[in-house]
């Protein structure tokens, strides 16, 4: 199944991309997706990452739905 992945801030710079469509196995979790992205984009390794699915923070164990929007970023720094 396909999911949409968005990168922000330091994570976008580290990955060298801001947005990508990724093919993942059905039932894959948010954490597993992050691990596979780290393997593909070595710049992401060692970064503290937050993940949101459908614009809500999720735990690593959350399974992804087909077509969902996944966003990945480090600690936020607004204000």
């Amino acid at each position: 199944m396909m999911v949409q992945v968005l990168f922000f801030g330091a994570v976008a710079d580290a990955a060298g991309i801001r947005e990508v469509e990724v093919e993942v196995a059905a039932g894959v979790t948010a954490g597993e997706l992050v691990e596979s992205l780290k393997a593909k984009h070595p710049g992401l390794a060692g970064q503290k990452l937050l993940i949101a699915v459908g614009q809500e923070y999720v735990a690593a164990s959350t399974p992804l739905e087909p077509g969902c929007e996944v966003a990945i970023f480090t600690t936020v720094s607004g204000g």
Partner: protein, 149 residues
């Protein structure tokens, strides 16, 4: 009187934010105006660094959702009547306002407490990202989030 949460690339008019919130049962509005600081002291080394300008970006739809959640949580925790949050995005010159949080309440104590809580939580949960640009480089700012993995 409705709350508001906004992201904008235009300069923020602080008074316009504060004065959109004057419910008739209220007597005080507390406003936090956060802005780009030129000189920052490194807590560890004591060294002073000079910032040239800032760039903010956001995961906009989620940022607006999180801001609305914070306002709603603040209203359930504190005796406040109305909350306005406006965050600037894009390039900010030194001294320009990055964020305004205004809280109107019948009495000032709750307004102070809610405003201070809101900025602390905004810095922890709202997906907005700050890049500091120096004369000799740039760096994304490290925030306060704890739940990363």
């Amino acid at each position: 009187m409705s709350d508001f949460n906004e992201l904008t690339t235009e300069p923020i008019d602080i008074a316009a934010v504060a004065r959109r919130l004057v419910p008739p049962e209220c007597g005080a509005t507390v406003t936090l105006d956060g802005y780009a600081r030129r000189f920052t002291k490194d807590k560890a080394t004591g060294e002073v660094r000079e910032t040239e300008y800032l760039v903010y970006e956001a995961y906009e739809p989620m940022a607006l959702k999180e801001m609305a959640k914070l306002a709603s949580q603040a209203k359930s925790q504190f005796e406040v009547s109305a909350i306005g949050i406006v965050h600037r995005l894009g390039r900010l010159e030194i001294g320009e306002t990055s964020v305004v949080i205004s809280v109107a309440a019948p009495h000032r104590k709750a307004a102070f407490a809610a405003c201070e809580w809101l900025i602390k939580e905004l810095k922890r949960t709202v997906p907005i990202f700050k890049k500091e640009v120096y004369a000799d480089g740039e760096a994304w700012s490290e925030g306060d989030s704890e739940d990363s993995f």
